[in-house]
Subunit: 202 residues, 2 copies
């Protein structure tokens, strides 16, 4: 089993951090996405969306999408659960993981793609949308700040995949100068706590 | 337990269809999202993102995000599983559910919001991005068409939440004139099959 990734990409870090929390060793193959190595015919045959990271099983089949890979490892390695342990906790992890993804991380990603033109050889950047997406991401930090006033982690006192998503998204957001502000005291407390975990270095 | 929703909204239909497949009865409260009823102080205290649908438990706590609600019902009512039954199947459902969401449904939604100005009282529509998002959605139909050449449903021979997401997204996409084309023979076969399920009327 191996994972194709680009080590600097935020979704790649999400999976590495998830595996580190569970103590799962993995073989990684680096792809130069800036140079389009993920777009060639061989890679498309493995991974139709061309998004990284993706997993290659020993039988030659593949699994894409960050959270689908995390779901697979949660099911096959249930120790150190990161997606919740009872129905309500599983649902709360899913809720916060998705909120961070939809309203922050995806907005940060669109801000990056549409304002920097990093992938302009394979998409049509709309700068005005990139700027708007960045504003949406910044605005959602206030929602997270309020939530973390009453919660140690995103899903209460339980460290989960939702926290991994937010850490990786926040660190990536610095590229677009999207950062925590002085008013985000709860987010800063959370950030210091989560970024000090051993898995954050994965 | 009750769900706040707007019956015509595609995410509301996703949850209703998921519950119908499982045979779960539910009380629904309608919100006029066009009129901003989801934005008032009372509703924001229940549901900070203001997105519908969301679930209200009998103890007064709440759960938002369509797939978090589906996860909760999958865990509490495991009969008629819609999110998979073994690690690989669960991962494949998650993969296709997310692909349909990220590369089709979310693009359709952004096309709607940014080209029609339907929510212009609460967001800044960028028409050029809406048009681009619509093109992205149309392009992804070809990926789904290829996949369904070898698969009865999105996750192989297993009907799942991924199919529910695609059906609701496709029906909603008609508003933007995004439709299956003559070349999409596999998608059309799939569409006829899935839209004839009793749950599709929920």
């Amino acid at each position: 089993m191996k994972i194709y990734e680009t080590s600097t990409a935020p979704n790649a870090r999400r999976v590495r951090m998830f595996l580190a929390e569970k103590g799962i060793d993995m073989e990684y193959v680096q792809l130069d996405i800036a140079g389009g190595e993920n777009l060639n015919k061989e890679m498309r045959s493995k991974n139709v969306t061309t998004k990284i990271p993706f997993l290659e099983f020993d039988d030659g089949s593949h699994l894409g999408e960050t959270m689908a890979m995390c779901r697979y490892f949660e099911e096959t390695h249930p120790e150190t659960p990161l997606l919740g342990t009872d129905p309500l906790q599983k649902a709360l992890v899913e809720m916060w993981q998705r909120r961070v993804e939809l309203y922050f991380f995806n907005m940060v990603g669109m801000c990056f793609q549409h304002t920097t033109g990093y992938f302009k050889d394979r998409m049509n950047p709309i700068a005005a949308w990139g700027e708007e997406a960045g504003k949406n991401a910044v605005a959602f930090l206030d929602v997270l700040e309020d939530h973390l006033a009453d919660n140690q982690y995103l899903a209460g006192d339980y460290f989960s995949a939702a926290d991994i998503t937010l850490l990786c998204a926040l660190d990536f957001a610095r590229v677009m100068k999207i950062k925590l502000q002085d008013k985000h005291v709860n987010l800063q407390r959370w950030y210091e706590q989560v970024s000090q975990r051993d898995s954050a270095k994965a």
